[in-house]
């Protein structure tokens, strides 16, 4: 990604005459030297360039400090950029603006993207997203650079940390941010789990125990059921055998046999009737119209209402569908494509044919079924009669067996006793088996069944435990996957930072070889700070001003030149604090370090510094000078630049 500054302009600000425009060429010149005497707004320009690039917050005092004079209430600073995207393509123009309201000390950022479709002014700074991370105040200060502070850069870097510059420029901070996003994504997934918040190994073990316990209980209940079912079958066999024995004993007692047979036939008939009547009663119970006369009356009234209202109506979604397909409406109006679309959309609001059929069937049942159905109470009464008849039948059979016993059949007594015992045992077992295996929720509630006593409930509990365990396992697996990914990202960040430090250190040292020829000054280590050494001492902390500046430029240019971003380098007073020898060295080297340099200089920096640019072709010279009547003029060209004297006057 390549960023160039094309121009800037100001209105009513403390720069030059107040309203000034600085054009750097189209395309912008590689080197722009702007000569401004002290007091004409170099510092303000640098401050405003930093502010508008970083969208900095400005205090009321700072805003008012930019005001050209008391006669103006508003002001503007506008910076033109030419940005070429990472993936190439033609560069795009951006204009970043700050509008000032000096009265209330407020300001507003806006962006003009002339090449955007329908491009207009947008509020705020709207720059390519790739740039967001580098356009932070701290980093902007490295390429919109105050040269007068260069002598302190090594010390400042010790505090601000060279690492931070590397991390920002090479987006290593984004890897840190990515780690947070990974953690957040995993937390969200774990929170979305329905059954549990468990996500640790301990949680897995705990839920595994629950599954094992549920499985054991289920197996235990199934074994109990098997035993009881087996006992039940054996008792049934025994009951049949005892029944046969009783029948054979009856056969030995002449006239008893006939009565016994009659009672048995009657018992069979009653059993059949009771079974069928029970089914019928349940069926009747499911028909609300048969439950009570009050319900019947209300349903009949509903049926009558539907009939009276002629519901359901014949209009249906099909009708509107057909109308949409026709060329014209039933009223004769033509139906165009727009009407057709609306008709097809809105037909969904109406009942479809199958829905109408369902309502029609319901109405028909309401109107016809009530009179023909047997009421629930009638069914119950008939069933009750049959149950009483069975009771009578059982009493008669018992009496017959007693009669046989009284006639001297000694075997009948133990048979009768056993038959009675079996009956009780079977009833008990039947009840226990039902408790164990019923899946009917009503019966489960009635028997107060739990997963400890009922197989379907135990099975469901086991399945739930297994599902929960699987979720905990998934959650735990996710935690471990997250830990692995986070560890990898941390290592990647660390390795990349170490490599980049080394690349930049080597590059810095290459540049230092040219810049500082008198001494073999080298950056020994970048470890948050710049550690220097030389051929004279292994650790060098006391460097001269020139050396310090050289280290600063070497490091900054190495840092910026190796970055994935090509940034302009804007520097204020780059040589003002250097003696002439160092100036010469610096000015012969730094021009080649950047693709765009904007240098704010004062006339005293012409000697041994600015003059080294005079012969360079792609250089723009801009001179601001104060005239005798106190006005400020902006002149372009080398001649005007050279004529500027140290006090700001043209010589």
């Amino acid at each position: 990604m390549k960023i160039r500054i094309t121009d800037w302009r100001c209105e009513n600000l403390r720069i030059g005459e107040g309203t000034e425009s600085f054009e750097l060429g189209d395309p912008p010149a590689r080197w722009s030297l702007i000569q401004m005497p002290n007091g004409l707004g170099k510092t303000s320009t640098m401050t405003l360039i930093r502010a508008v690039l970083g969208g900095e917050e400005l205090s009321t005092e700072k805003v008012r400090g930019f005001r050209a004079n008391d006669d103006v209430d508003t002001g503007v600073f506008e910076l033109g950029l030419l940005i070429e995207g990472r993936r190439g393509g033609s560069p795009k123009n951006y204009r970043l603006t700050i509008n000032f309201d000096f009265k209330n000390g407020s300001y507003q950022y806006s962006t003009l993207r002339s090449e955007e479709r329908g491009g207009g002014r947008e509020l705020g700074l709207v720059l390519p997203p790739d740039l967001k991370h580098i356009l932070k105040s701290e980093f902007i200060r490295l390429f919109v650079f105050d040269g007068e502070l260069a002598r302190d850069i090594r010390r400042d870097l010790n505090k601000a940390a060279a690492d931070r510059a590397i991390r920002t420029l090479y987006q290593l901070d984004d890897i840190s941010a990515l780690q947070q996003r990974v953690s957040y994504a995993v937390t969200k997934r774990q929170e979305a789990l329905e059954r549990t918040s468990g996500k640790t190994k301990r949680g897995v073990s705990r839920h595994q125990k629950l599954v094992d316990g549920a499985k054991t209980q289920l197996t235990k209940l199934e074994n109990t059921l098997r035993k009881k079912s087996s006992s039940y079958s054996m008792l049934e066999e025994e009951r049949d055998k005892v029944g046969e024995d009783i029948a054979s004993h009856m056969a030995r007692n002449g006239n008893l046999e006939k009565r016994w047979k009659q009672l048995n036939d009657e018992a069979d008939d009653l059993a059949g009737d009771i079974q069928s009547l029970t089914g019928q009663a349940i069926q009747t119970f499911r028909n609300p119209a048969t439950l009570s006369s009050a319900i019947t009356a209300r349903l009949t009234a509903l049926g009558a209402t539907l009939t009276r209202a002629r519901l359901p109506k014949s209009v249906s979604s099909d009708f509107f569908g057909e109308v949409a397909d026709e060329g014209e409406c039933i009223c004769g109006r033509p139906i165009g494509s727009a009407e057709r679309v609306i008709l097809r959309e809105r037909k969904e609001q109406y009942l479809a044919q199958d829905q109408i059929s369902a309502i029609a069937t319901m109405k028909d049942r309401l109107n016809t079924s009530v009179a023909t159905e047997t009421s629930f109470l009638e069914s119950c009464e008939i069933l009750q009669e049959k149950l009483e008849a069975r009771q009578v039948n059982e009493t008669a059979m018992a009496r017959l067996k007693l009669e046989a016993e009284e006639r001297g059949d000694d075997d009948m007594r133990p048979l009768r006793k056993r038959e009675s015992e079996i009956k009780i045992e079977l009833a008990t077992l039947e009840k226990e088996i039902e408790h164990l295996q019923t899946a009917d929720p009503v019966k489960q509630r009635a028997h107060q069944c739990t997963e400890k006593t009922n197989i379907p409930l135990a099975r469901r509990y086991h399945e739930e435990c297994k599902a929960t365990l699987n979720e905990v396992k998934d959650s735990y697996r996710l935690s471990r996957q997250r830990d692995i990914l986070l560890d990898q990202l941390q290592r990647i960040e660390k390795i990349a930072l170490t490599d980049l430090r080394e690349v930049i250190r080597e590059e810095t040292n290459c540049r230092l070889e040219t810049l500082v020829q008198m001494e073999d000054l080298r950056v020994e280590r970048i470890d948050g700070v710049l550690e220097l050494s030389s051929n004279k001492t292994s650790r060098k902390d006391d460097v001269s001003e020139g050396q310090s500046l050289s280290v600063a430029y070497a490091f900054l240019t190495a840092l910026l030149s190796k970055a994935p971003f090509e940034l302009p380098f804007i520097v204020d007073s780059p040589a003002v604090s250097l003696d002439l020898d160092v100036r010469k060295e610096v000015s012969s080297v730094i021009p080649e370090l950047f693709d765009q340099m904007i240098l704010f200089v004062i006339s005293s920096e012409q000697a041994a510094f600015a003059e080294n640019f005079y012969e360079r072709e792609d250089t723009r010279f801009i001179t601001l000078r104060q005239t005798a009547n106190g006005c400020v003029e902006t002149r372009y060209g080398l001649e005007e630049f050279r004529r500027q004297s140290a006090d700001g006057e043209i010589t």
């Binding site: 990472r86 997203p129 790739d130 967001k132 991370h133 090479y170 987006q171 290593l172 984004d174 890897i175 941010a177 990515l178 996003r181 990974v182 994504a185 995993v186 997934r189 190994k201 897995v204 595994q208 396992k473 735990y476 697996r477 996710l478 471990r480 996957q481 997250r482 692995i484 990914l485 990898q488 990202l489 290592r491 990647i492 960040e493 390795i495 990349a496 490599d499 980049l500 690349v503 994935p564």
Partner: protein, 60 residues
């Protein structure tokens, strides 16, 4: 495109951890998208799912 230093770091870490080429490429894409501010949260889920971990039973 992410910087060569980051790309090399991804390669080194993946080699050390025995991750395959598909994973390395996905991890690099994830970092690149994060740097381009165009990260889709589902990319994180997809990458996590590619990380094989021993089952708890194996571990026990």
């Amino acid at each position: 495109m992410i910087d060569k230093a980051v790309s090399e770091a991804v390669k080194a870490v993946c080699n050390e951890d025995g991750m395959d080429e598909t994973y390395r490429s996905a991890l690099e894409a994830l970092i690149e998208n994060a740097m381009l501010d165009s990260l889709d949260p589902s990319d994180i889920d997809d990458l996590l799912d590619q990380i094989t971990v021993e089952s708890i039973a194996d571990e026990d």
